[in-house]
Symmetry: C2
Subunit: 293 residues, 2 copies
């Protein structure tokens, strides 16, 4: 069995960017010390989830790529000899911002970036105000630990995105994410939402025969506008194998670093018995480009 | 709550076609007597799963559409005033066969057919020998109980197919299926396979915000060629709501008729909070038509 040891950092954040980054650095070091060669952070890990309100002052939180946070995490990746998947509020130019994953190679260089393609917008998640939809498409990032199909949060609900990363040669799919409950929803609705979130991502593993890594924020963050009761980020970061089988999972309340071995030869075995890529009816898929029929 | 009562018939079959049909008729009547207005049968429900071997004599089992089985099931649909989803080994002409779902309206007429688009072929499931891939595409069948996104078995592993049915206006997805375990696989592999099968289908409900009905064969059928130990069809027929939540599920060993109420207004509610159809990046999906990149 050829293993890749992966670290997932599930964290609570505060409103102090520097404190969040220092805690991230501590957790990244812990994962690296335990042997992780690939470490994945949650979505927009440097700050609170500021999209709960539409406030122009939040654009101050954005950074260029490269920029100060890239320097910080690139340096960590180099020192610890790890591949690191981060999530940055990107300022591309004045008035143009993206929700961008930045992947660092173990020499500290930027291996590649992915700009979130599917942008949500619903009460408490006003992302269409902050982020322009990505324009780089679904291109896996080539690294020393494999081709990483990195996407971000809302992308996880779209099988098309997972498939395109797979067709692009991704060895695994990776979702930094920030999703949680409306504290006003009852327990059964909360359960259904969490199950749906896990099912849809595990299904990408099944449909495409590859491992999936999902890292989510945890903890309650209040709504600065006090319109809602805030968001209870539900954690449950997990990693599953190419049959969608859960390899490890965090809980819904606590910070945790998961350290998990992926068997990188399993995809070969699983895709031989379930050769879905062989049988896709590409002659009959043209309407997938339509909004509705 | 506007309800639709659905019946699912999970059945063991023998090598006597007439006996299987009589048992089906009995079970369909039972579902109808309990109030089901839509009844779904498993894949190739008239016979044993003959694709365990490649044998030209099995083409004798095929029928035209319309034909004797269509007359039989159409009559039942009319007498019981139900919409009925069946699965027929279709002889289209000499040397041309399909694995075809036939949907009967409650007046006994054929509401529409669907020819299985994705055809599997692996040891014990030699379907590429028997069935030409469907050429009708993914078109929901319009009936008095809604637009039915009927597909067949192997189609269930392809998110593209579920999406295309949804874009075509399907109110629910329906999969007659015949899937089982290799008795030689260990319990953990069997568990992973069953979980994968359920996850991928529940994920279609999640991704598309509609109910999914899956009806599977049950029981052990030996391999006539004695090359393998046969197939242990795993049952577990189920129906889930538009968040992928299980509404009812049969077990892995027994024949069972499930009678389940679908709340047909739930899709409206769920798609309002999870508007995935709004955010699909149709400008970036063109490579879904490619085999590989």
């Amino acid at each position: 069995m050829i293993k890749l040891k992966v670290g997932l950092v599930q964290q609570k954040n505060c409103d102090d960017k520097e404190k969040n980054k220092q805690k991230l650095a501590f957790n990244i070091c812990e994962c690296a010390n335990k042997g992780a060669k690939l470490i994945v952070l949650q979505e927009l890990h440097n700050t609170l989830y500021f999209c709960q309100t539409e406030n122009v002052e939040n654009f101050e939180l954005a950074e260029t790529i490269p920029g100060p946070s890239c320097d910080f995490f690139g340096q960590l990746a180099k020192e610890l000899n790890i591949v690191l998947v981060t999530s940055i509020f990107e300022k591309r130019t004045t008035g143009l911002y993206h929700n961008t994953a930045v992947v660092f190679e173990n020499d500290g260089s930027i291996a590649g970036i992915y700009r979130k393609m599917h942008i949500p917008d619903d009460p408490g998640f006003y992302e269409k105000f902050y982020f322009s939809p990505g324009d780089l498409g679904f291109i896996p990032v080539k690294t020393s630990v494999g081709k990483l199909g990195v996407m971000v949060c809302w992308d996880q609900w779209f099988p098309e995105a997972a498939r395109l990363m797979t067709l692009g040669g991704a060895d695994m799919l990776i979702y930094p994410t920030a999703i949680g409950w409306d504290p006003n929803d009852d327990k059964s609705e909360q359960r259904r939402q969490l199950d749906s979130w896990q099912i849809i991502q595990r299904s990408h593993a099944v449909a495409n025969g590859l491992p999936v890594i999902s890292v989510n924020r945890v903890g309650i963050e209040p709504d600065p506008s006090e319109v809602t009761n805030g968001i209870q980020f539900w954690g449950n970061s997990f990693i599953c194998g190419p049959q969608g089988e859960i390899l490890s999972q965090a809980d819904s309340k606590n910070e945790e670093n998961l350290i998990v071995d992926i068997d990188i030869e399993r995809s070969e075995k699983v895709r031989r018995i379930w050769p879905f890529l062989r049988d896709r009816r590409i002659d009959a898929y043209k309407n997938l480009k339509k909004r509705f029929l």
